[in-house]
């Protein structure tokens, strides 16, 4: 019995409202290192949401999404450390470069379907890693690029400070959330859901499946580039590892924990992973095993994420039988 939409929507709004409250009002009262983790979580939330557009809404397992995140990050790093370009210019270039890259790689990746597609997107990400690793003159190779200074926005607050930068990232998070929300409510966004549910049906209805997937891939890539730009500013350092396998799969895990197809769910997913990685290592050296357990347990018991478990509980509360 699939639970009624209106009820779950009510809970989602409550959750979103509380979440917004916490994100906006609480940070000035939190310890600095927690705010820093919040900032990182919001950066990852943006790229995780963009990945959900592909995994959750289009049904495309684009596992290699971190490639575009890294491209955006490197673009920012190179522009900031070697040229004098405004924040708007850097941001715009990072988004554009990531979108162009996804336009090029998307043509290759979409030659395949199913598991093959998953594999190819990962292989592409690994090639981006390799390029960053070997093209030393451009990317600094294994050493990466350091010294990325925070943007000078001409505002009365210094972006080099923790709190102002947090609110800058929060601003972009909210903006991206709204844009992506509009995207999935738009006609094009709905066609993606149709494709996820039944490609064959969409084809006979007159849809050019490939084109829709391709456009979705590029849009998601653009958002990933934006997230990568913010990451570069946040971290002041980029390295090839930002495109490696581990990074790619972590983003997938964030989407899965939050619940694929929920969009906003990717944000708590990002928070969980960021906090897990940063706090567990305080208590044990074996934090990698803890992360491994999260991967396995999520895949085995919560593949639809927190929302999925939530829906399961709701579904059991509905009266058995009856209609609507």
């Amino acid at each position: 019995m699939i639970p009624d939409r209106a009820q779950s929507r009510r809970w989602v709004f409550v959750g979103l409202f509380l979440g917004a409250l916490i994100l906006i009002a609480v940070p000035p009262f939190l310890p600095t290192y927690i705010v820093i983790l919040f900032t990182l979580s919001l950066v990852y939330a943006i790229v995780a949401m963009s990945l959900d557009l592909l995994i959750g809404y289009t049904g495309l397992g684009a596992l290699g999404h971190a490639a575009y995140f890294a491209i955006g990050a490197y673009c920012t790093a190179i522009l900031v450390t070697r040229h004098q370009i405004s924040f708007a210019g850097v941001l715009g270039s990072s988004i554009l470069l990531a979108a162009i890259a996804s336009a090029i790689f998307g043509i290759l990746a979409l030659r395949a379907a199913g598991v093959y597609f998953l594999m190819i997107t990962l292989a592409i990400a690994m090639c981006v890693w390799g390029l960053a690793f070997r093209w030393v003159s451009l990317t600094g190779g294994d050493n990466g690029i350091t010294g990325i200074s925070r943007p000078a926005l001409g505002l009365p607050w210094d972006m080099g400070d923790v709190i102002p930068f947090y609110y800058l990232v929060l601003f972009f998070f909210v903006a991206c959330l709204l844009l992506m929300f509009l995207f999935i409510r738009s006609p094009f966004g709905k066609t993606l859901v149709g494709i996820r549910d039944s490609e064959s049906r969409m084809r006979v209805l007159g849809y050019n499946i490939w084109l829709h997937k391709y456009l979705a891939y590029i849009v998601a890539g653009g958002f990933a580039g934006l997230s990568g730009c913010l990451y570069a500013y946040y971290n002041s350092f980029v390295s090839p590892n930002d495109a490696n396998l581990t990074h790619c799969m972590e983003m997938v895990l964030m989407v899965t924990i939050g619940g694929p197809g929920t969009l906003a769910g990717a944000a708590p997913g990002a928070f969980v992973i960021v906090f897990l990685k940063n706090m567990v290592s305080v208590y044990t050296q074996r934090w990698l095993m803890v992360l491994a357990a999260v991967y396995v347990l999520t895949a085995l018991y919560a593949p639809e994420g927190v929302m999925g478990i939530f829906r399961q509980i709701q579904g059991r509360r509905q009266p058995v039988g009856g209609k609507g």
Binding site: A112, V115, W129, M249, T256, M289
Partner: protein
């Protein structure tokens, strides 16, 4: 001329390693449609176990035997416990293989530490074979021969035996194979074990050849991916050809265009995807 011969030989010996890694990966992918992220971990565990056995017993060949048995068993346990009942759910399976890969990586770190380890080979393999003015390291020759031998053995098995035919049937159409009475769960279990075994075997050789260290599992994985993408999933022939192409290109790439050498892997992959998305020898 010397350059070309040396580079080709080096490329081929590297290809031997890649075939061992990619061959197992492509079998698993072909039969179960799983892109096994833990495949590099099989290589890693195999290499570490081989190192331990070799350094404790001094027996090079015993190292192979033990490593292959242990890794094969590991693979079968993983398939049965975690992957079997999730058939067809690609994302879930990949998340699980990722988790297991991380677990094995950390376990190896815990047991063997972070320093690179090298398996010492018997004296006759540490020498070089002299042909005219060229010196060919015996270990590399051993790699090429071992990989070639395994390839021939596996192909014979696949083409000439009943069990091999069952595996081929399962690759082509799992549902129909079940309908024909083939014990598909046993086939998937066996193939996973075999794939893991090949990777473990490669790990022992690799440990002797270039050493072993934490993180090597994820470093080698992209090569396994690209070998399968170029060669075609489920095809041993494809894995061999793909491994040779990748091995040669990577070697020549590193020598001629060191800055873009990783990207030179991308070019053949892109070409194959553009012309024949299922790989050179892939089906469907």
């Amino acid at each position: 001329m010397e350059f070309w011969i040396n580079q080709t030989f080096n490329g081929l010996s590297y290809a031997a390693l890649l075939f061992l890694l990619g061959g197992g990966f492509t079998l698993i992918f072909g039969v179960m449609k799983i892109a096994n992220i833990a495949h590099g971990s099989f290589y890693l565990v195999g290499g570490y176990i081989g190192y331990t056995v070799a350094s404790h017993t001094g027996n090079f060949y015993l190292a192979f035997l033990v490593a292959c048995v242990v890794v094969s068993f590991l693979g079968m346990v993983m398939e049965r416990l975690f992957l079997h009942h999730l058939g067809g759910q690609d994302l879930r399976q990949m998340l699980i293989t990722m988790g297991i890969a991380l677990f094995l990586q950390d376990l190896c770190l815990l047991i063997w530490g972070g320093n690179p380890l090298n398996l010492s080979v018997p004296g006759y393999l540490a020498r070089s074979l002299r042909v005219g003015k060229y010196y060919f390291p015996a270990l590399r020759i051993f790699m090429i021969i071992a990989a070639g031998f395994l390839y021939i053995l596996l192909r014979w098995f696949q083409e000439k035996t009943r069990v091999g035919a069952m595996v081929r049937a399962a690759v082509d159409n799992m549902e129909m194979s079940e309908g024909l009475g083939i014990n598909v769960p046993l086939v998937t279990l066996g193939v996973f074990g075999l794939g893991a075994l090949l990777a473990g075997f490669g790990g022992v050789i690799g440990c002797a050849f270039m050493g072993i260290y934490p993180g090597l599992d994820f470093e080698l994985l992209p090569f396994a991916f690209v070998v399968v993408i170029i060669g075609g999933m489920g095809s041993l022939q494809g894995a061999l050809v793909g491994a040779i192409i990748v091995g040669l290109i990577d070697n020549f790439g590193k020598a001629l265009f060191p800055e873009l050498s990783y990207f030179t892997l991308f070019a053949p992959m892109a070409i194959v995807l553009g012309l024949r998305p299922t790989g050179l020898f892939g089906r469907g």
